[in-house]
Amino acid sequence: MQELFGVSLTTIAIVMLVLFGIVAIVVVTLALRNRIMFKLGVRNIPKRPVQTALIVFGLMLSTVLITAAFSTGDTVVFTIRSLATDALGNTDEVVAAPNRETAPDSGYFDYALFDQVSEGLSGADVDGILPVIREQVPLINPGPMLSAPSVTLFAPGPEYDDYTNLTVVGGGDASLSDLASTEGDIRVFIDEDTAEDLKAEAGDQLILFVGSEPKPVELAGVVKGASSGGFSFVLMTLESAQAVLDKPGRINTIYVSNTGGVLGGAKYSDEVEERLLTLLEGTGLEVSTDKKETLEAADLAGSALTTMFVGFGLFSIAAGVLLIFLIFVMLAAARKSEMGMARAVGTRRNQLIQMFLFEGVVYDLMAAIVGVGLGILVTYAIAGVMASVIQGSPIDIRVHIEPRSLIVAFTLGILVTFATVAVSAWRVSRLNIVRAIRDIPEPVFKRVGRGMLATGVAVGIFGLLIFVMGIGAKQGAPLYLGLALIIIGLALIARWRGVRERLVFTVAGIALLAWSLLPTDVFESIFGDEMTMGIEMFFIAGVTMVLGAVWVVSYNLDIILRILVGVLGRLKSAAPVLRAAMAYPMKNRLRTGLTIAMFSLVIFTIVFMSVVIGANTAVLSDSDSFAGGYDIMANVSYINPIADIQQEMADKGFDPDDFEAIAGYSTIPLKIRQANTEGEGEEFKDYALNGVDDVYLDTNTFEFALVAPGYDSAVEVWQAVKDTPGLAVISADSVPSRQSFSVSVGGAQFTLEDVYLEDDALDSPIQV
């Protein structure tokens, strides 16, 4: 289930639809009851097509962003899910020996166990069970002398035909029974990619290797739809595989398919896994629920991406909201005289609000429709960029957009705009009839009423509450927002007390700026270093910073003008132009403030994103820290390991002197847990152990996030690992962070306890 800021997207969609329904019913009812106001509102739209186009363009920005964010999240979820569903098809659980990949001769078990498991699962939510042999083997086409170094030998039992619809590339159905051996020869199918790599066609004789022993096989056809569990495969009958591998009556894997189809079966995985574990007790076999985990990882990745996009998009949405407000304030200014007259002849304030709402809703609908359409196009563009970035990998980016996402984007765009239009219409309706009819400006100095005191007290108290809550819960967002609201509340109270506007908002603006720019170490020295902060902090801090800066600038425009005139006034022609240019912004502080805030948010977003992209580029291009100083990495299959890389390279004609360092490592999957921990920490978790050679320890340039006492440099640590058996280093992925700015998907499951990336150092070496 995808989430946005921790809330299910389905829940958001339902709430949005209900709210949209309420708004639609209210607007339609009002329009039917008050047709003259409806006419007044909507007739402005076709009369000014250029203005309408500009307004729709401005309003649609937030919908485009929301649509693109959700649709990209859907695309990522679908792409990752496809990895699981393409590879595993209907298979939900896989029974096999642990670490079978690194120990090819072990892991086989008697076929009778399959019968026992099959019987034991009767009554469970299972609709299929399949005995299989899987191995990674090299495959050669001796004709053109082409090889595929690591292909999945996939040999299922005859039940396979009941679950799978194989089709021959080029047309026609195929089945496993087509591969039945007639005269002791071995017939196989291969997939399209492998066929292309080997330039193999039906009828070719291929050779697969079991260890170093060649085994001739006949290619019966090139097929698709095999769900082999790998990206490239050679498919044969179970009997053939048992003969080729010399494992008569034995298998090494059992595939289990749950009821509920390709995606729906995952929800039974926990229950089926439990039954399987009971059945397999004492066999040394384990159950993997890769599909369920991949589907969950897909949802997590989609949620993370959507949250990140929406998080960054919030700045643009905030700028869009200001733009909408500004548009309607300016529309109102342009029609001030007409509105004053409408009020004079008997139009109530709420009718004036309705008039603007009707107009706004039509813009809103047009903007939402165009915005969703453009958002979909943007999604395709992002998918294209993502596809080009991961070009060459087996991942195929597939654009997929859930109707739910479009519903949320459409309704959210409508509701955000509707709310903004409603607020601006309410503000506009509070016009003075006489001043409006005569089209004279509002007085510069307005009396400060009790409303400002009430607002100030309410904002201040609310800010204090969430500030205290933030400290108590060690949550950065409420703490941060709380203090900002306290500052705003105090400013409003000071205004009510009669303190001059410029002084109040300049001081408050500087305070907000200081708060939002407070260095992390100062923040931590005051509030401790255990505050949890998420991506929402960017938005809160950004908006606080912009608000503070806008207050300081807009309440001191005259001083800025004086400075500008002082500097530029020496150019005699510039002085009058400058004065005239500054006079209009100074005359209408609200519009000026809104405009500055809007542009500030846009510039802030651009600068922020540029810095993030620049920092990422710098990190990725820094091979010393990102790749340990190495330039080329190559992998080999366990079936054909390299005992001495230096020798192997020399044998292949490479001159070792051409390389500064040739280092190697091997990976072994194992279980790990932290010593002396309790609760969840006591549980062993999967981990990949990298055993590195001496060259690696001597030459890599990786630095460390945290180091135990007694080491002054990374080099010292690597040397200590080399010299001290039992001493190891661990990936920073396995160390939790107090900040949740990033979400790691598919990373290490194992995490250390009582240590954080934000700590200065390890208190002592940790035992695992």
């Binding site: 008050n34 047709r35 003259i36 106001m37 006419k39 007044l40 007739r43 402005n44 009369k47 005289s337 007409e338 004053g340 007259m341 409408a342 009020r343 004079a344 002849v345 008997g346 139009t347 109530r348 304030r349 009718q351 003075n432 009839i433 006489v434 009819i437 007085p443 510069v444 100095f445």
Partner: protein, 229 residues
């Protein structure tokens, strides 16, 4: 025939405009009575408080001190909505700059006060067409203001002011933007309506030609009525 009861009764009206540190006393204790069916012209130099008086009396603007009673009702004591409804039902307005809504046709402009006060649309349309006929513009119902001359626009404005058969019509410089020939036509129309319908007219004007068509002329200076009470 002019009846003897006061339809408008204002006593001790004070109004001060404040702009920053600057205060302007627009009305300094004005007493003003108008009888039902009377046509009164308010004259005086620019800035003497004529328009301010009209706005305060008609409930378009507030005042600082004093009492205004219209048809026996104290307007300032009404809520904003009540005052707005009262204006829609019992008052009509004609201003110098027409102030018609440019996106509505003539007939739609005229029927607006009726529709916002809840008159059914069919009835409102019928009354609006009758009002346009009354001001001599039966053929411009579907035209928008931009397609009308200045005189025609002001007639549409008058039709809008009359359509709800108001007790009082407030006119602020109703001929200020018109040539002398059209001014004469408009004043003929207003005087005819005043006589035919027994409606009360309060006109603010600079023009002696306009003022002398009224039953009574009130002269203002420096926020006070100096003649014609």
């Amino acid at each position: 025939m002019v009846q003897e009861e006061n339809i408008i009764s204002a006593t001790g009206i004070h109004k001060t405009y404040r702009t920053g540190t600057v205060e302007v006393q627009a009305l300094r204790g004005v007493d003003f009575m108008v009888k039902r069916g009377e046509m009164v012209a308010v004259m005086g130099p620019s800035g003497c408080g004529k328009t301010t008086l009209l706005n305060c009396l008609s409930g378009l603007d507030s005042f600082d001190q004093g009492e205004v009673v219209i048809e026996g009702t104290q307007l300032p004591k009404m809520s904003d909505n009540e005052r707005t409804d009262y204006r829609a039902r019992r008052m009509g307005f004609v201003f110098q700059l027409y102030n018609l809504l440019p996106v509505l046709s003539s007939v739609e402009n005229v029927e607006m006060p009726l529709l916002v006060s809840g008159v059914p649309s069919a009835k409102g349309r019928k009354m609006a067409l009758e009002a346009l006929g009354m001001v001599g513009l039966p053929g411009v119902a579907d035209r928008i203001p931009a397609e009308l001359s200045g005189g025609q626009r002001q007639r549409v404005t008058i039709a809008r002011a009359l359509v709800n058969q108001p007790a009082i019509i407030w006119a602020d410089e109703p001929t200020g933007d018109l040539d002398s020939e059209t001014t004469g036509e408009i004043m003929d129309l207003l005087c005819k309506l005043n006589k035919d319908n027994q409606q009360t007219f309060v006109l603010v004007t600079h023009s002696d030609e306009v003022a002398k068509r009224a039953d009574r002329i009130v002269r203002m200076r420096d926020g006070l009525i100096v003649d014609g009470k």
